[in-house]
Every structure is written in C-alpha cells, then in structure tokens.
Symmetry: C2
Subunit: 366 residues, 2 copies
C-alpha cells in the first residue's frame, strides 16, 4: 500500500490525509524542511524526529555534484547516508540548475550547464534526472521540469511544452512506482489557461501525486492565491498535491485552505542563519538591541528545546557568531512551521480550520 | 559540604575523587570542555549532559567584553544564562588577556589593555577579576595571575612575584568560599626552584584547590612532565589539583598518572572546526580523500550519537562546509576525552591504571 493516499477529513477545500510511503506514514498537510546537501542545515536527524518532522526534501542538483549520486547509491542510498529513516522527497534538479548554475544551452531534450562548484560541464535531462533520483533513493521523486519567469507568456508556453515532453520521458525512465513514486509538476506561470492546459496534460498520466510548480518565484501573493484557486480543482481529489518552495506561515494557511497537502521551503533554516525567528506575532530578528535583556523565550507557545533559552542569550550567541545560534534558531523555526501545519491538520479534523486561520493571520500579520 | 574533596581511591600517585560543588558532584579526574563565550561551541547543553560532562570552563576575558558580566549577573548568572545546571569553572581573564588583547601596561597592581573586539581601553586586576567572576557566578573561580613565557627566568621571577601579590589581593576581594571557591595558581615556568617557591607561597593560603599554570604554553612534553613531577608533591593531598589548558589524550594520561584531578582544553571543539577527530589509533582528519567511501564510524569504541554516521558522510559534511560537521565532530571529540578520563578513573578504582595507560599510549601514539 505504498503511496496510497488516505483522506481522513476535510473542511471546506482543505483536507487531512495520510500518505503511505516505504519509510513510514506522512500525515498531511505536511511541511518538509529542506536538507539541501543531505543535511537539514545545523540540525541532527534525531532532533528532526523529536520535532515530529515527517518528511524532508533533498536536492538532486547539489547531491549529483557533491558528493555524487553514485557514491550515495554505493553507500546504501540517501536514507542510510544521512541516517534519516523517515520519508524523503528529492526535487528533479531543474529549479537549482536554473537558479545556481551557468546554463550553456537549453534544448527540447535537456539542459547543458556548468557546475557552480568547479565550472565543469554537465547535462541534465529527464532520463539522467530519473537515474540520479533512483540512485539517491528518495520515496518521492519529481519530474524534470522547466520553471520559467511566471509572467513572460511566450517563455511560459515554451516551458510547459518542454515540461510535458520531459514528463513523458521521465515516466518512461521510471515506469515503476513500487519503491519510489514519481510526481508530476504543473507549470503555467500566472496564466490561468496555461495552468489549465498543464494540469490537464500532467494529470492524464495518472501519477501518484501532483505538484504545483512555478509559484513563490516572484509573483504577488494575490497572484499565487489566484493560481491555486484556478489549479487545485483541476487536480484529482484522491492524490496528494504539493506546492513547491512555499513555507511562509501565512502562505501555508492560504495553501492549506485551498487544499494543498505538501509544502517544502528552506525558509526556517535560512532565516535562522540571518538571526530571524518566527513568532505568533510575526517575524523577529534576534540581532535587535531590544532583546539584550529579554528573559522570555522566542515564542512561549512552542514547546521545543530552543524555548528553554532567553532571547537575551540567543541575541548574545548571534552577536558573538556562535554556532549554537544556528542550531537553536533553526530548531525553533522548523518547529514553528511543523507545529503550525499540525495545528491546521487538527483544525481540519475538528472542522474549525477557518477560525484557526483567521486568528492566526490576524495575529501573525498584525 | 560544598567544595569538600573526597578521595575515593588511589593507584600510585593517581587518585579518584569526588569534588562537591553547589551545582553537583564532580567525579575526578575530570576533563572540562571549554565554553568560551558561554557556549561549548556547536553543542547544546542537553548533549553535554548526555555525554556525562561534569564540568565546563568559561572565559572571564571574553564574557566581560561580550555580553558583559553585569548583564549576565542581572540575568541570573552564567548557569541560568546558558542553561547549564552543572558545575562551572571560570578562569581569571589573565591568560586570554595576554594572548588576545593588546596590552598597554602591566604594573604590579594589574593590566591595562585594549579589547580585541573594539579596541576600547580596559583594565583587569585582582579585585576586578574577582568582581567579574562573582557576577558570572561559576562554582570554581581562579586567582588573577600572570602567565609568562616558561623559559625566561627573569620574566618568570617577576611573574610569580606578581602572581603571589595578586593572589593575596584576590583572597581579600573574595574572602568567602561558601558559594564560589577560589583556586590559586602555581607558576614558575620550567624552573624547579621557582615552582617550589610558588607552590610554597600559594598553598600557604589554604585554598579549596590549586592549579598548575604556565604549562602547555610552548615547553616540551618532557619539560611539562618534569614540572608536574616536581610540583605535584608540593601540593596538599586533600585538595583538587588542576592542570590548566591541557587536553591532548596522551597529556591527560601523563597528568593523571602524576595525580592531576582537573583538566580543561579547547582542543575537542577546535579540532572539530578543522575536521580533525580523535581515535584510539591517533588523530585523523575527515577531509582526507581516503574516507570518501569509508562506511565505518570515526571510532567504533565510542558510543555517542556521532558514531551512528559513517566517515564518508562526515567527510561529505566537511567538504560541503555543513554546520552539522561541527556538531558531530565536536560531540565525538568531547566524548573521546570525557570517556578516556572516565576510563582512567575506573582504572584507578580497579588498581590497573598503569596497564590502561600503557595500552592506551601504545595504540594512540603508534
């Protein structure tokens, strides 16, 4: 029953479910912290377990370059390599490739680029993305797609044509979902008709799950909401829906209200490295001098280990550039998002998601 | 019964004891990791507890400059500030001052210097070192001393004269050991007669414990051993003896064989930041390409969390400059030294320290 998606409850368009994987069940909605280079930055896997993290994402682009997907395969796969026994999702490499690498050539079959690490020439295409993700061995693997600037219609049209062609090639290179499930990605920028066209094509392949790509890449929050409103009804109810790269606390609310089941984002660990922390009253920065003598925890409504420390101590660690600051702030920020999504899941089950959302947003965006 | 020192067993000159403090018992011999800026770099206090760390050291010089000892006092003291409930020892500030700060003037009453952080003018003397250490609130506080180059006789003579004068002033400024015990420091460089003279003076003050300072500062290992052989019999048997700044695994053996009870050193966390790890077969560097595919743990004889990861994974973290490398390697190195000292304590109780030492050194120094 791997990759069976069990719907437990719904509340409006929002749903609570369970996604079964070879490495355990994922209660949905779920927020996945990102472990780019086979590590969620600064956080040992045991602490992720203690926070009830149920899914992590790792990056194909980074791992193919360093330490190399074949090495990870030879060492038993990503779960074994990084000692994380829960579910893992890998992206296709496409997104990082377009944002980090120097692209030499995009053609209808794939992308030739130079590594951002050493400048060496590389190529990714549907077959190699599948082979690399098979070597890594994540539970959920993503189709190789092209993520264009969202408001350039001609560019978006070219990108969805390629994305669809590449999806077919990915399915051919990965025909069997028994151990790893292939998810397809709907593109279409901010254009409703292109989103419709992409959703129709991608869902015609009857995949284990569907992602909405090409959002949270520079469009407005209203545009993102409009695209979700338009696209979600075009995805089958009985498959998980994944909104890629989204993790702002208010965006998680908007996504879940519209029926999104899976999210991932680097934001909790990236903010931590910039001394920022989520609170129910909005984001704060521990570098601020006003926390110098503040004996309260970052957010007294959370219950993780970082909450044992005062803002004054955390500020000291930040100012003194101490490594422990990364650990404690990352732990806090991950817990904030994971708890927030878990609270929404419970609210869906209790039939009061709209209330939770209203109260949360009123306080968070005040 | 605070600061009572209970001798449990002895084996040759080596002893196993228990030092009672207001924050718990310290089984001795003990190795104290260093938390320079009120944090043992990269390691949360809960993980230190799990490793059976029984004492940590923190630095007066660093904390007086940042975040300031009065702030720490106002926030409840160092234990409360850094959420470490076990025993803490603070140094006097002298050693860092001579190694890090730009000294403006040393006179017979104290030292005027410029902060290495912002160049501001500061002064430390016996009374201010005591006041700062009282503000920090460590269990064991150290007398303000001058640590000279060990082989310049004229300089060492001047330094011990000051160290003795300053010790008397420290005792006057800290007359009561009820909550914090003042330890004195024997200086004397590599000169046996000066060590004798210093030991005689320092022990005449009947303090709760005695440190041997001015070693591990550039002299040879043979010179260090000779100074220990000469000085230890001149310290009273019923007080703990602290060899400052020593932490190499073989130096711990030599110190314990000669009756040292307390050690501290930055080496486990500093080595970790340079990708180096202790093993029973000597020190290794995880950056080395030969560990690329090595599935074994750093040292299979240890039992800490870092031991769950392969050398291949640790090498990947090091090469990718991932924060988790600092955590796992620091955890490993601290456990190595703490376990090593705990094994020696057990060997003293079992009457087989010499065997343990011989086997350990043969393997470690091979």
């Amino acid at each position: 029953m791997s990759f069976e998606f069990e719907l437990v409850a719904s509340d409006g368009k929002a749903r609570a479910g369970i996604l079964h994987t070879p490495h355990g069940q994922i209660p949905t909605p779920v927020f996945a912290p990102v472990g780019t280079a086979a590590t969620v930055k600064a956080i040992p896997p045991k602490d992720l377990e203690a926070l009830d993290v149920n899914l992590i994402l790792s990056n194909t682009y980074h791992l193919m370059l360093r330490p190399g997907d074949e090495l990870i395969r030879d060492l038993g796969g990503l779960h074994e390599f990084m000692r994380w026994s829960g579910p893992i999702l890998t992206d296709s490499g496409g997104f990082q490739l377009f944002s980090l690498a120097q692209i030499s050539k995009i053609d209808d079959d794939g992308v030739t680029f130079r590594s951002h690490l050493d400048g060496s020439a590389k190529r990714l295409d549907p077959a190699s993305s599948m082979r690399i993700q098979q070597n890594l061995g994540a539970d959920i693997i993503m189709a190789f797609d092209q993520c264009p600037a969202p408001d350039d219609r001609a560019e978006v049209e070219r990108a969805i044509a390629r994305t669809h062609r590449w999806l077919v090639a990915c399915r051919e290179a990965h025909p069997d979902d028994t151990r790893q499930a292939l998810f397809g990605i709907v593109q279409g920028g901010v254009f409703p008709d292109l989103r419709s066209q992409s959703a129709a094509f991608v869902t015609s392949l009857d995949l284990k799950g569907y992602a909405i790509g090409g959002l949270a890449v520079g469009e407005t929050k209203a545009e993102m909401a409009a695209m979700l409103d338009h696209t979600m009804p075009r995805l089958p109810n009985d498959r998980p829906r994944y909104l890629m790269g989204v993790g702002e606390p208010d965006d998680l609310v908007e996504g879940i209200l519209r029926g999104v089941d899976i999210f991932d984002c680097v934001i909790p660990t990236r903010l931590a490295r910039h001394a920022a922390a989520f609170t129910h009253q909005g984001r704060i920065n521990l570098r601020n001098a006003k926390y110098r003598t503040d004996e309260s925890p970052i957010d007294c409504r959370l219950n993780n280990y970082a909450g044992q420390f005062s803002r004054a101590y955390l500020r000291h660690l930040v100012i003194a550039k101490e490594l422990l600051a990364h650990y404690l702030l990352s732990l806090h920020n991950i817990d904030f998002l994971v708890s927030h999504v878990a609270n929404m899941r419970q609210a869906i089950i209790d039939g009061c998601l709209r209330d939770y959302a209203k109260k949360f947003l009123a306080e968070y965006l005040q």
